[in-house]
Amino acid sequence: MLKYLSYSIVVVWLLMAFAGFFIGDHANEVVLSQFLSPPSEQAFLSTAILGTDELGRPVLERLILGAQTSLFVALGVVFFSAIIGTTIGVYSGYVGGLTDKIITKVIDVFLAFPGLLLAIALAAILGPGIENVVFALVVVGWVGYARLARAQTLSLRNREHILAARSLGVSTPLMLYRHVLPLILAPLGVEATFGIAGAVISEAGLSFLGLGVQPPDASWGSMIKEGTRYLLMAPHLVLAPGIALMLVVLAVNLIGDQWRDHLDVRSKKSRP
């Protein structure tokens, strides 16, 4: 039941992001006569069903554009950090020696640094904008994949099939891609799922602080920020993006939990 619910929330998220392509500039159109109108059933079947914001823009359309932003950032961040982190981690774990020692030290330093703070610092220095948000979150995010991939590779490197391939003279890149990577994809997939939830929250957080997506572009984080100024008059401005954000994060986390339990035999056994 919970499983289907979480998958449906993610599907709705994807559909909203897709619908964003058809809205275009209409969502940014200022209609001052409509400003801060509350959600109403009279507006049923129109985009004003969730009310309008301080510039008279329909909240539903802003929400859809925000879904697009969060999906774009989440996919970008997870894609790049997973590729970069996995490559570094697998290589480090497989090669070992001094290279591994140096890379482990670098990973430790990154882990010793509060992630959100580093992202804030980077976003502040690079300036606002969606690409810079993705960049900042990748700089913070690759470490998790690198650590996981390295640990997994270490446990594999002396397996028979690796030794066999090595004695046949398989080159290192091919070895990692063909013989190591397929065996560690599952835990990395789980990490990536949680990574999506983390990136959605981080993007919204940076946009909330004014360091992410800039107006008139919409982000759930900046919608919450703008809405807090009208909290008493128009709580729907904060409620709508907040609930959307929470549902997406909750659903993605639940899916991640399910996958982890599915893969982890130990947690299945210890579960009462």
């Binding site: 509060p114 703070l117 610092a121 980077l122 220095i125 939830a197 909330f208 919450i224 907040g242 986390n253």
Partner: protein, 307 residues
């Protein structure tokens, strides 16, 4: 133990130096001229030169780096461009507020997490377990920049029980601390439940039950104390994370701490302050993590031996 302490101190110093260097180069090597960014498009060349000299940006980068690193050890973090006041003074004013907030959040989180985790573990698999774990899942997923405004709406605007923002009134800290502590409470409750479940299957628990100890003693003394060890570690590590999370909470509640100073200084392009705030929060974070490891090693001799 002493050798362990010094090794830890060494690693804290090493990471602090790396963070300092990273922050320095982050600001100096990013494409674009910080002076042009700080002054905007309409600044006159004279102003730009003046600011560049004030910041020491006309010196070679190695000299700047040397000044910066030696400055840190003399607690000299430069001058604020906005306040015309030493950065270290500004930070000394604001830092206690952030620490206070993080500490209150930690206490609130523990007050919520311990009963919740204990209840879930003792009724594992039954409805209290499901209920408290669902609550904690929501707690993990709720972003603090949304929880904050919701709490303000409910407790400050509708019920008018607590102040909306600031830190002047007696109960100003309640809402920010709850906002900051919620996610931690959720994580702690889950950790405690998992840790207790593991301990409850141990032989000594069965022995304690078999010899007829009241369940208050079995759970309160034998189980809880042993389950606490991993939880204490998480608690310490999370205190560091709280310092990072405090940035957003402080902005939501207009709490005059280091995080709010950081974000305001970013908006004012007051780079010396930005640099100082990031450095101080990072070093605090690293130090707290180091102290946690030390406490952990003191509690559990196996770790000292293993390392």
């Amino acid at each position: 133990m002493i050798a362990y302490f010094f090794r830890l101190l060494g690693s804290v110093l090493f990471v602090s130096w790396t963070v300092g260097t990273l922050v320095f180069f982050l600001i100096h090597l990013v494409p674009g001229d910080p002076v042009a960014v700080m002054l905007g498009d309409w600044a006159s060349p004279t102003d730009e030169t003046a600011l560049r000299e004030q910041l020491g940006l006309h010196l070679p980068i190695t000299t700047q780096y040397w000044h910066y690193i030696t400055g840190i050890f003399q607690l000299d973090l430069g001058q604020s461009l906005f306040f015309h006041q030493p950065v270290s003074e500004l930070i000394a004013e604001r830092f206690p507020m952030t620490l206070q907030l993080a500490f209150m959040a930690l206490i609130i989180a523990s007050l919520i997490a311990f009963p919740l985790g204990l209840w879930a573990a003792l009724r594992a698999g039954k409805w209290p377990d499901h209920l408290s774990m669902s609550v904690s899942l929501i707690g993990v997923s709720i972003p603090n920049f949304w929880l904050g405004p919701m709490l303000i709406l409910f407790f400050s605007l509708w019920l008018a029980w607590l102040p909306v923002s600031g830190a002047e009134q007696p109960f100003s800290w309640v809402l920010p601390a709850v906002t900051l502590g919620t996610a931690l409470a959720a994580i702690l409750a889950r950790m405690l439940r998992a840790s207790l479940l593991e301990v409850l299957h141990e032989d000594y628990i069965r022995t304690a039950q078999a010899k007829g100890l009241p369940s208050r003693l079995v759970y309160g003394k034998h189980a809880l104390l042993n389950a606490l060890l991993p939880v204490v570690t998480i608690l310490g590590l999370q205190l560091g994370t709280l310092l990072g999370g405090a940035v957003i909470t402080e902005v939501v509640f207009d709490w005059p701490g280091l995080g709010q100073l950081l974000i305001e200084s970013i908006q004012r392009r007051d780079y010396p302050v930005v640099q100082g705030c990031i450095l101080v929060i990072s070093i605090a974070y690293i130090t707290i993590n180091g102290l946690t490891e030390l406490v952990y090693a003191w509690l559990d001799p196996r770790i000292r031996v293993a390392s």
